[in-house]
Symmetry: C2
Subunit: 344 residues, 2 copies
């Protein structure tokens, strides 16, 4: 079972693996630097559906189906599914999972959902509560734009700090002792709010949460940034990344040497005109499942801290003058299990 190693962090005592993973996206994602690593690309962002919300459900289902297929599994082989998304009442996930018959726990962690679902899947797998658990999430540019900002037809101008919601979904399946990538520790985030109220500057709202979780992890485990090949944040974008660097520098835990952000990896920021970078639950999910997990699997990345960040406001709370609370959940993903007897 998992051992608490500090206030915020749990160490998984049994080697817990991600046995399969898949990333699905659409045209803009395929045109980005990571496009070739995606498992499924549908150039048509409607995914054959009549509404953007149904398109998102179908997209998430694509990623889940592909992750199952890659491991030669069917929905009946999964003990538990953990999923969520940005849409009101998380309909992207619910409708996507409707026909699968898998015991289902719905989550809401905004853009932190890939880390939240994966850490819960890992804890429940390691604790013997499920032989195989499935973690999934999605976002869709068009469903997010009209829900959080403007109808697409309005053609609203975007601020320089705005990020572009990824049309993408990721899914991971966890099981015990099946080789890399292993999940070694997880740090559960706290809600942080530094008083940002600009809905077009999510990076600034989320950076304090990323800072809190990352510093909690280093404190709880006694590690330092240099112990990892890569510190990968969810979707801070260019503004949030700069702020996180500043906060970490001030705490004498500089991450500038080995930090990357999913929001800056997924698109060519200038060529693809995405302003401050990518965002959305699908951003961290697809970068993890397309580009990062294969590298950990083959060993070109040994130890990675994956931390997805989420801004937990709603359009209503912002209209009511509320500031934006944020959260970040972290997983230490590794090529080795860190258990005795392993040759590495």
């Amino acid at each position: 079972m998992a051992t608490r190693i500090g206030t915020y962090t749990l160490r998984l005592d049994k080697p817990t693996s991600i046995i399969s993973f898949a990333a699905a996206g659409s045209r803009k994602e395929s045109e980005g630097p990571l496009g070739k690593y995606f498992d499924c690309i549908n150039e048509d962002s409607t995914f054959g559906e009549k509404t953007w919300e149904k398109a998102e459900s179908t997209l998430q289902k694509c990623a889940v189906t592909k992750a199952l297929k890659k491991a030669f599994l069917t929905p009946g082989d999964i003990d538990l599914m953990l999923a969520g998304d940005l849409l009101n009442q998380c309909i992207g996930s619910t409708y996507g999972a409707r026909q699968m018959g898998i015991p289902y726990l719905g989550l809401y962690g905004a853009c932190s959902t890939m880390a939240e679902s994966l850490l819960l899947a890992a804890l429940l797998t390691e604790g013997g509560m499920g032989h195989r658990c499935l973690a999934a999430t999605s976002s869709h540019f068009c469903s997010a734009e009209r829900q959080f900002r403007f109808p697409l037809e309005y053609g609203g101008q975007r601020t320089p700090t705005a990020q572009w919601t990824v049309t993408g979904a990721g899914a991971c399946i966890t099981a015990l002792q099946s080789g890399p990538p292993y999940i070694r520790e997880v740090t559960i985030g706290t809600i942080e709010d530094y008083g940002i109220c600009d809905i077009n500057n999510m990076g600034a709202a989320m950076a304090p949460a990323a800072y809190a979780t990352l510093s909690h992890y280093f404190h709880d485990t006694g590690t330092k940034p240099g112990d990892f090949d890569l510190i990968l944040t969810g979707d801070l974008g260019v503004i949030g990344s700069q702020l996180l660097h500043q906060l970490m520098d001030e705490a004498k835990l500089s991450i500038t040497a080995n930090h990357k952000d999913c929001g800056l990896l997924i698109y060519d920021r200038i060529e693809q005109d995405v302003h401050a970078g990518g965002s959305g639950c699908g951003c961290a999910a697809t970068v993890l499942c397309s580009y990062i997990l294969p590298q950990i699997q083959e060993g070109s990345l040994k130890d990675v801290l994956f931390m997805a960040t989420g801004a937990m406001m709603s359009p209503t709370s912002v209209q009511q003058g509320e500031t934006i609370p944020a959260i970040a959940h972290l997983l230490h993903l590794s090529h080795t299990s860190g258990k005795e007897g392993e040759s590495c």
Copy 2:
């Protein structure tokens, strides 16, 4: 650690208790048959806030604070908080938990959230992932009406099948081996959809999910309805309860003798003019935390199946002609731990 005893059910091997619980509500709830059992009642349903959404956050915070206080605990004594609500992006919970600094996992299970949060709290407590975990949820009549139906000022007429959203919040704290109420087994729900698309008839949409989870529990554990003092459903109301009875009768698992529904307990349906009964995340949460848990604690109820049901649609999905998927999660709550050496 928890043992899987079938496809959907987990048995908690270590005695896992609900060490503290609290229910908060407003005037209409105080005027109902269970009003006197609530821990906190604020006659003013604004809870001193300027908007209904902020009122709901404050309400949830009341329940959480009271549950902590009853156990002489502070937020720092809690390892993990699991919470969610009906509001878009679950802002009732996020803003309520913002200042507490507790590691936080956001959930979305619609009106099933009290069962979802409590079963996860129980599994993670029993698995050693947290010494004390906190499960909470809330709903508010006014924030729900305007989000899901009409602005209050519109004075919309309600159909006979409509249910009244409870202005209430419940919170439970779990820990190992601290006396009754114990959580002995949990059954995680599957998403069920029988094609109901009437947003004013949630009971009908949720009854199939309740049927699926309840029959899964009896099948997995080899028990039958008569083994329990009470089978308590979340908020099926009068329509959903009748449908559940019918489905259970057909499966030769009649529950008519010992079934009650939180939606029918919380209000005087005729006197308080709530049509088909109460609903909302706060319905099952407050009935459990005000009226049921004390009876299990003192032993006047020995074995209770608590199953909260949730309708997982959104106004958008319904407007797009989608049917309403639903889910139900179940916990077996008991006065005894069921472990050897216990005198009872």
